[in-house]
Assembly symmetry: C2
Homo-oligomer: 306 residues x 2
């Protein structure tokens, strides 16, 4: 699986309940990573870990369950900006990651250690060991780091361009291309194709590996009934002149996806997606409970295993 | 004031209630500093700040009042050693200090910022901007970093030697020697003379400045009735072949202290201390309440202002 944040983690909890952990390799977006208070925060990798470990805050889909914010409150004495919500237990992960990176460990090695510390037996790979940072160019406000755009700015403003700074110099992390080439199935979860999956696809060789792998590739639409399930994707698609529908998403993946999963509410789009050369699965896609995650994961596996 | 940890902070709360904050300059020991989880922790400086800001945990005399340990608990997933008690709000100070030092700020500048962030108008100087680390050489266990000796090892084992690693290369921080030379009064609180005041005295020029300043210098015995008020000082003195009494402490300071303050329970030692060339004040020295801190501070000021 290529993974963004919450949508990916919710599908993963379904796949994780159906497969052996060792069958699962997750390639996580690091374009959303940022440094707060000198600590390296990797929101998408952590959301995967916390979700699979059963420790995610259920009301948000990110962060640690029942976490408190005493440290962040106290950081407010020293810093003007404390808008990025880092809970006390969550901070331990960022402190450890920062410490290990400063000691010369790669992000791959640190991520492996974090997953293991949470008892996970899946393979979790950051997309790259080198820094790639997503910047959102917003009308009148210049290029904003992704978290500043999404969290501080609440995803407001007209998006002019999405930039993956550093992507041209960065290589996929060890194991990323091999995982894609040797997989039986590749899944693109209902994550934002522009800012969650996009940074992974921007790395040298990834898109080529997806086009040429023998794996069957399934993607799930993050647009349902004309809206993003979460986040500002519909506004981004519109601002970039793309169709705000599963078709608009399918077009972004048309060179490598075999099967495209859409919600029942979007059944009317099936024919246009088939015209892009994909099979179409119509099912329930909103993973509001673990049972729904499992049902969607089963539907995806059934389609691509067929 | 030269300052160690809790004893210094308790006397300071008394002085702080009697003097204008701008009259107070505190030179804090940094030999106890250590790095935990990649974060620079400066226990003595922080104890001064938290105490004067009214935020110290009253039951310990260090750390932040009502602090919780959710982050430290979570760090236990990633690290084997979590014996150094860092509370959630307290961690904010170490995160900020570490971040600012990494950005090239001096420890002096960071310490000034921390004190200001807590609304303090006193001058708090670290003894040096360069690293000096206290190591305790313990029979059969080699050289232990101070916190490992004191907190992890609970001050057990026979002390062979106390080493201030880095002290020969380190200079006093800007303002330290000038503060001593231009003060009206210098106070040595009832801190451990070997490991709290000792590192400050070990820096080039500090002892000379104390010997030659026009200030009157008062010291308060941290040994009362044959025991250290707090910590392993009595065991250290004994192991190093020194007398475990106010006299043993006074001997360490005899080249520069004018007035030595001892507890009523130690009145019998007064004559031997006078024989070292000091005046002696006999009073209540256990600062178990703010009122007692204030009374002791008043007694010290009265003696050296006379």
């Amino acid at each position: 699986m290529l993974a963004g944040g919450v949508g990916a983690a919710r599908l993963l909890r379904g796949l994780h309940s159906l497969l052996e952990p060792r069958q699962l390799t997750i390639i996580g977006n690091t374009g959303d990573d940022d440094t707060f208070f000198g600590l390296h925060v990797a929101p998408d990798l952590d959301t995967v870990v916390y979700t699979l470990a059963g420790r995610v805050a259920p009301q948000y889909g990110w962060g640690v369950r029942n976490d408190r914010f005493a440290c962040l409150d106290a950081l407010g004495r020293y810093y003007a900006d404390t808008w990025f919500q880092l809970g006390d237990a969550d901070l331990a992960t960022h402190i450890f990651r920062t410490d290990a990176l400063r000691h010369g460990q790669s992000l791959s090695a640190v991520t492996r250690a974090i997953a293991a510390a949470h008892g996970l037996k899946i393979t979790l790979l950051p997309m790259s060991d080198e820094p790639v940072r997503t910047f959102i160019h917003v009308d009148g406000r210049g290029a904003l780091p992704f978290q500043a755009y999404l969290v501080k700015g609440r995803g407001r403003g007209r998006v002019r361009k999405i930039e993956f700074r550093g992507a041209r110099r960065a290589s996929p992390a060890p194991g990323v291309l091999r995982a894609i080439r040797t997989a039986d199935i590749v899944v693109l979860p209902p994550s934002n194709p522009l800012v969650s999956i996009g940074p992974i696809l921007s790395l040298a060789g990834v898109r080529h590996a997806l086009r040429t792998t023998r794996a069957r590739i399934a993607a799930i639409s993050p647009i349902v009934a004309g809206m993003a399930i979460k986040g500002p994707l519909h506004r981004m698609l519109r601002a970039l002149g793309r169709e705000v529908s599963p078709v608009g998403v399918a077009q972004l993946y048309k060179d490598f996806v075999d099967a495209f999963v859409i919600d029942r509410r979007d059944a009317q789009h099936a024919a246009r997606i088939r015209a892009l050369g994909m099979r179409v699965v119509v099912t329930e896609t909103i993973m509001s409970t673990p049972a729904k995650s499992r049902a969607l994961a089963a539907a995806v596996l059934q389609e691509v295993s067929a």
